[in-house]
């Protein structure tokens, strides 16, 4: 049986503590479009490991401080 997991992130909080960094600024730092940052922040898109590391690097934190997960029931 496989557990359903939902990827969570703290990008909004990290942006706030990074002097209210805009989504556009984060997008430019990570080399993606603002739309992708919006989607990642809203949990609508799970980024590749590479992008996840780049986002963490943009904030100068470990990847685990940006991304986490929640278990959502079980799936057969």
């Amino acid at each position: 049986m496989k557990k359903n997991i939902e990827i969570t992130n703290t990008i909004r909080t990290l942006r706030f503590f990074a002097n209210e960094m805009t989504q556009q600024q984060l997008a430019e730092k990570t080399g993606v479009s603002r739309q992708t940052i919006i989607a990642v922040e809203a949990g609508k898109y799970s980024p590749s490991l590479e992008l996840a590391f780049r986002i963490a690097d943009a904030f100068g934190v470990q990847i685990g401080e940006v991304f986490g997960y929640e278990t959502k029931g079980e799936n057969k």
Binding site: Q24, S33, Q35, T36
Partner: protein
């Protein structure tokens, strides 16, 4: 609405215009008795012509779209200098991993539509329909597949992956 969504919508609109123009032209000639339904050379020639028109129209429309898009940004940011305007335009046109993934997922759906159309075209032949029906079913299903690809791309941009 993002740059990618606007670009896809523009492409879809040009596709719809070419498809409608094809059906008006080809079936107009057929209905007026100018062409024989079984003249496959006419149908093939017309389809090739409209595929060519579609490619050229798509290129021209994309050029116009990019010019209008740049103008719209320049008007919105008229208080900024040229460097910042160029920067905004370039930043909004970035293509990344999400665009690639959405493109792959939606093109798979487009191929499903085209595949269903191909099977429907073969079935039409089996049911004794004339070959021009099969040709038009093929043309229609590829066009619908392309539109579905665009539609699903927008859906994925909105809903997420």
């Amino acid at each position: 609405m993002s740059y990618q969504e606007k670009k896809i919508l523009t492409n879809m609109l040009s596709g719809i215009v070419v498809l409608v123009a094809y059906y008006i032209y080809a079936f107009g000639r057929y209905r007026n008795g100018l062409e024989d339904a079984n003249d496959l050379k006419f149908w093939a020639g017309t389809m090739l012509l409209f595929i060519g028109i579609g490619v050229v129209a798509s290129i021209i429309i994309m050029i116009i779209f990019h010019i209008l898009y740049a103008i719209a940004i320049a008007v919105k940011q008229r208080n900024y200098d040229d460097k910042e305007i160029n920067h905004t335009i370039e930043a909004s046109m970035v293509e990344d991993e999400m665009d690639t993934l959405i493109g792959l997922k939606s093109s798979r759906i487009g191929f499903i539509f085209a595949g269903i159309g191909f099977v429907a075209a073969l079935v039409s032949l089996m049911l004794g329909q004339p070959p021009f029906v099969m040709l038009n079913l093929l043309f229609f299903s590829f066009s619908i597949g392309s539109l579905a690809e665009g539609g699903f791309s927008i859906y994925y941009y909105r809903k997420g992956l």
